[in-house]
Symmetry: C2
Amino acid sequence: MSDFAAWTQACQARMESVLAAWLPPAHIAPQRLHEAMRYAVLGGGKRVRPLLAFAAGEVAGADPERVQHAAAAVELIHAYSLVHDDMPAMDDDALRRGKPTVHVEFDEATALLVGDALQSLAFDILASQPLAADAATQLNMVQVLAQAAGSRGMAGGQAIDLASVGKPLDLTELEFMHIHKTGALIRASVLLGAQCGTVTDATTAALDHYAKCIGLAFQVVDDVLDAEAPTATLGKTAGKDAANNKPTYVSLLGVARARELAQELRADAHAALDKLGAPAARLRQLADFVVERTF
Amino acid sequence: MSDFAAWTQACQARMESVLAAWLPPAHIAPQRLHEAMRYAVLGGGKRVRPLLAFAAGEVAGADPERVQHAAAAVELIHAYSLVHDDMPAMDDDALRRGKPTVHVEFDEATALLVGDALQSLAFDILASQPLAADAATQLNMVQVLAQAAGSRGMAGGQAIDLASVGKPLDLTELEFMHIHKTGALIRASVLLGAQCGTVTDATTAALDHYAKCIGLAFQVVDDVLDAEAPTATLGKTAGKDAANNKPTYVSLLGVARARELAQELRADAHAALDKLGAPAARLRQLADFVVERTF
């Protein structure tokens, strides 16, 4: 196993236990809600956002014992968005991470409440123990996550996505949507990981640019995989974008040019890290991972 | 107009402008989401939770310029819960505050995202400017609100409520549900208002007991009104609890005993304030208001 593969596995295992510890036990009332929250979060997922937080934490000299909680908060926001996104009123999807979606396995009302409660838990975690050098920085972390999740971040991106179904978006509009829908939370992952340690403004700016490139690359690759990979590999329903007549990088650019664009974004992401030296090694590897992944 | 009526009107007007300023303008993208967020929050509501926050702030000598932001955060959590609660997967209600509910006026997907984005905005507000004596206290305010909103608070209460439809709950189980469903956020309103100022542990304990009594009284009165008041007065569909075969204080105790219970809870709430003297005058009046209201 490569050093990077071992690191990602270790981070993923750590996140599984951190998330399992934060999620209320399924035997505590309301049991069905807690069972469904655990079902939605545990036992799957690439944990890309936590990996980014840990890698950014290395640049900032942050203690992983702190980063893991910030990473859990970001991952819970991501997990809640998937639960709500899969519901009949949104994407109406029955499969996620190779398992029935929450509203299929439980019911719609439970899925709604699972998402709501996971969002609350994310902010509970960010506020519940020292994660940064001082409380003022940590309060800023709360704000960073809240804005990334909100109507001018992820939730806003979902709204733009919904409004775009069947519409001929151009590349600028598609990018605008993705900067909100997935980019905002990926950016927050990197920034929160760094805020657990100490960084200069110049480093923050570099990390921010890196995160923007990675966020878009992630989406471009997602679109390529949705168009090309079989459902069994993805663990979610493939070919949904085309079936829903959703604009994607593939529908706008074709597969070949979309693949090229992902490579260009990777190069930009690497360039943003140029001045950060050895501590940014994991972030460089993550840029490669995001672009080269097949699931 | 009584002094208390003038105070509530002033607080309500202040909240309307504070909330209007925090909510993203409807001309900023995504416009439809922002329009729906403003529709869900502005132009109605008794603002009971903000009133409690302002009144608790008076006990703590808190600056109303600070309390108003904490109050806005709590009110946004309340507003998001109403939007999600009204959706077809939950209570399936078409009328709220005398207007069509968000999923009726807009659509279900928008209602889902409105609720999600309002919750994020609540935490954004709590973290965005100094509200307490120090940042550590303010971080604790984030935690208080997150826990009140989450699976062991309001969202958990909704789950217990859903699971109880058609079941013969006893009084203890009904109280357990309401302590979560409405009590947790009412408690948070009082605590957050106080945390904007300075209070002793003994005062916090007294406020906490007051809040618990008020929260239950609020629900008991809600059940009485649902059973007795016409829809036009309530601004929401009356008689829904009986129609849905939901256990209520009225179905368990009858109207007469439920009214008595509300009076007993008011007396308990007043007693909890005994040692707090004149600064607790508004909290006393609010206990009266909660029990005597007809809408």
